[in-house]
Amino acid sequence: MIRVVKASKTYNKGKPNQVDAVNEVTLHVARGEMAVIHGASGSGKTSLLTLIGCISRPTSGEIHVAGKTISRLPEKFMTMHRREHIGIIFQQFNLILDLSVEQNVGLPLFPLNMSKTLISERVDHLLAKMSLSKRRDFLVKQLSGGEQQRVAIARALINNPEILLADEPTAHLDTALTKELMETLAAIKKDARTIVIASHDPLVYNHPFVDRIFEMKDGKVVEE
């Protein structure tokens, strides 16, 4: 499902402030697996996720995601591929605080010319799954951290992606909420979705549902 071959991402190449954020990383995650990328802050986890998530392009190497080689794809087609196959939960949630829960969750579907009723049906379904039905018309800024986290997950799942990427999803959660989140992700995994989580939280990488752990250090995967 995800195959990364000797992929590198260098920022500011050739300048004095050059950073090899991802350095010849090779990894493989099969369909339906849950993988964790573990590593200290600054080790390149986010950069690697953006490569897999069709958000940025590698400086060298190959990346195959959901049946397509994306490492040399024009940005327009990367966006299309992302919309179709990938859901992303960002570290900062990236929710729009002044929009309602419903609007936030439905947002990724707007560019797809979907009918309002269909969008609304899908949103309903996901909000019920995330136990957010009662918060439907709340503004996101009125929600607690845990609720915002679930809104972010619901939004990532709205396009019914085969692959779910999460960047430090527990950074703002306490122990109880972290455990709850892992249960939710485990349930999502059961739908045969592939999940990749970047995290240095033991509650995450020690979870029994995790199939693979990649240890990152200075842009390299040093251990699987």
Partner: protein
């Protein structure tokens, strides 16, 4: 020199297009020179973004260039009131030696612009930028044509002299007269009508054949036939459609039919004709692009089928619109013959 709001906006338009096109050429030069599809460097990524933005702008610029034929016509109409003896756009064109060449070149340029837009359209659907460099190279080929187009228009407007008496379209398209207009006008209308209306079943059967079967030669022939039909149509309009619209066997002017007195039917005719010709070009041109390999094949097949359908719809609309004044005349005159 004559100045009115139309002419001034024409100057501004030409200047604007020239500026836009210079910008396009600088981007093109960068892309032709530095484009490296295998590079993953930041520079290439920046180039791709630039290309994405600039080709979109260029596409609209060239689209405007095509539509500016209408503006050119309207400007001519506005001048016809000022130039002694002109009375209509044809007369205004005739006012100096640059008029008709400017119009013809504008039409030719419009077709070349259309070709570029089609190439660009195919390129945007390719995941490997297969045509990007090629399409920017083509801009350099288009440049001298556009330059001539701008120059001729400039020269035409600059050399308009309100003190020189010109001739009106009645003379330009006079049957016994000399020159291109007259020779077209004196073509036998019956033969022209036959040629014109025999093209419909030919075109329809070609379209039907190509919708059931893929044939590379067929696509080329279809586009070629589209071009021929474009010429036949223009000749047909001069030869008999216009006289039927005016209900005067001796009036052949192909421009006055756009006037209000004739319910702007000319605009409709030319719009249908240009759109039909445009989409007729697609099958052959995309067949040519297929030879460039890559993923073009998959993208183009669908385009060919669609554009044939669209072109047939517009050809039928065009023929129906040309037929309309003839039918109306026949009804009114109870089966009379305009040309006898």
């Amino acid at each position: 020199m004559i100045l009115n709001p139309w002419v001034i906006s024409m100057y501004v338009g030409i200047l604007g297009m020239a500026l836009l096109y210079s910008y396009a050429l600088t981007i093109s030069a960068q892309i032709v020179r530095y484009w490296d599809i295998n590079s993953m460097e930041e520079g290439q990524l920046i180039l791709e973004r630039k290309s994405y933005l600039s080709s979109t702008i260029i596409q609209y610029g060239l689209g405007i260039e095509i539509v500016s034929i209408v503006l050119f016509y309207m400007t001519l109409e506005s001048m016809a009131e000022v130039i002694p003896g002109a009375m209509c756009a044809t007369g205004a064109l005739k006012a100096n030696m640059y008029g008709f060449p400017a119009l013809f070149l504008k039409m030719a340029v419009a077709f070349v612009c259309a070709v570029w837009i089609i190439i660009h359209h195919v390129d945007t659907k390719l995941e490997d930028f297969h045509l990007t460099r090629f399409k920017y190279r083509c801009l350099f080929v288009l440049a001298p044509l556009l330059l001539c187009d701008f120059a001729l228009q400039f020269l035409y407007f600059l050399n308009l002299d309100p003190n020189v008496i010109t001739s009106c379209c009645g003379v330009v398209f006079e049957i016994e007269g000399e020159g291109f207009g007259s020779s077209v006008a004196s073509l036998p209308p019956e033969t022209m009508m036959l040629t014109f209306f025999i093209s419909i079943p030919i075109l329809l059967s070609m379209g039907y054949f190509l919708s059931t079967k893929k044939s590379p030669i067929g696509y080329y022939l279809y586009s070629l036939f589209g071009l021929i039909l474009f010429v036949i149509s223009i000749l047909g309009i001069i030869s008999f459609v216009a006289p039927y619209i005016y209900e005067m066997p001796t009036l052949h002017c192909p421009l006055n039919i756009m006037r209000r007195e004739y319910h702007y039917i000319g605009y409709l005719l030319y719009a249908f004709l240009f759109i039909a010709s445009f989409f007729s070009l697609v099958p052959g041109l995309s067949e040519f692009l297929k030879r460039k390999g890559g993923q073009i094949q998959n993208v183009v097949d669908d385009m060919q089928r669609k554009s044939i359908k669209i072109s047939i719809v517009f050809w039928v609309l065009f023929f129906a619109t040309s037929l309309l004044p003839i039918v109306l005349f026949e009804i009114r005159s109870e089966g009379g013959n305009l040309f006898s």
